[in-house]
Symmetry: C2
Subunit: 219 residues, 2 copies
Amino acid sequence: MKENSLQSARTKVKRVPKRGLYDKESIYKILDAAYLANIGFNYEEHPFVIPTLYGRLDEYLYIHGAASSRMLKAIVEHPICLSVSIVDGLVLARSAFHHSMNYRSVTLLGQPTLVDNPAEKELGLKVISEHLIPNRWEEVRAPNTKELKGTTVLKLKITEGAAKVRTGDPKDEKEDHNLDIWAGQIPLKIVASESIDDTLLRSKIPVSSSVQNYIKRHS
Amino acid sequence: MKENSLQSARTKVKRVPKRGLYDKESIYKILDAAYLANIGFNYEEHPFVIPTLYGRLDEYLYIHGAASSRMLKAIVEHPICLSVSIVDGLVLARSAFHHSMNYRSVTLLGQPTLVDNPAEKELGLKVISEHLIPNRWEEVRAPNTKELKGTTVLKLKITEGAAKVRTGDPKDEKEDHNLDIWAGQIPLKIVASESIDDTLLRSKIPVSSSVQNYIKRHS
């Protein structure tokens, strides 16, 4: 395995191998562009998948949850798969068979560890928050001792994984190109609409700049 | 377990139990509204998660892939978890701790079976296609014998699972309501933009009605 590569025998992309990417830069870029991870783990010897937020700091991903969370307890120092997908569009071919999607996805394998150092724990929470909505952390009340105690933070070192990316046109069979059927792409993206005030919001509190910026970037 | 309930000891929602739903109608509605499932399974004794399309017909979900797919081979008559999430918005509280998301999610547990009856196999593919883009199936060239042979279709009977749904305002601590911090929601949705013609599209082939309708419904 090369210095910069996260490839392993079990993360090598087998289906359409040219779509596989293994360098850290490509994988970090997709992790930074997405916001929801699906974590696969075993609980009582059965596979489970739970969606969760995350944030990246260098070669670590932080995740968090209630200290009482079944998942967090189950995955500390146990093998997980962390999967992230961004769907960029639907790919419509002339044949049913060649319909596809344009996407960027990452699969990471590893064993999360508990973050028990209080300073790193708060840092991990900040990293997750900043990943979702940059600069929101500075606007809000920081976690207090009780809240920190009720929260578990884990980190996953990014050491083994792969990205898979598809872009561009459908790939029809040559003999289908003359069919009288429309083919192409439908681009998709996640869009934010106008913010909604909390019904309990005191009057004259304006929408904060982190929220305004988030909506601007997702419009 | 009640007739209409998919609840089991291991699918009961433990964190914020009031967000858990177990009736088939609620679960079907979320499955029908989403389009991407994350499938958790074990491969060489390690958990993996792979995103995939699906479609529902009554109490079955169909999934498909290349006959050579590692995942499909690994999950036939083996335990899986199928997870679907729709994020409806970000929930911004006055405290970092109470930030949350509004979402609709479903978790199903079960063991997929191979669809080897040719008629049901083609039906399964149609169900998946119709789920993603209604009426596209009738517009395109149907799968031929070679393509059907190269495709594996599995079905999962929906017998055990749960939905989890959050809606509405942030839930701040009472003493935080007087803080001078904006709180509320940012609604999110997946939006389609204008279709892009395949660069190999013959001239004068108009965008088909299934595609026009899809874009209209996702605008």
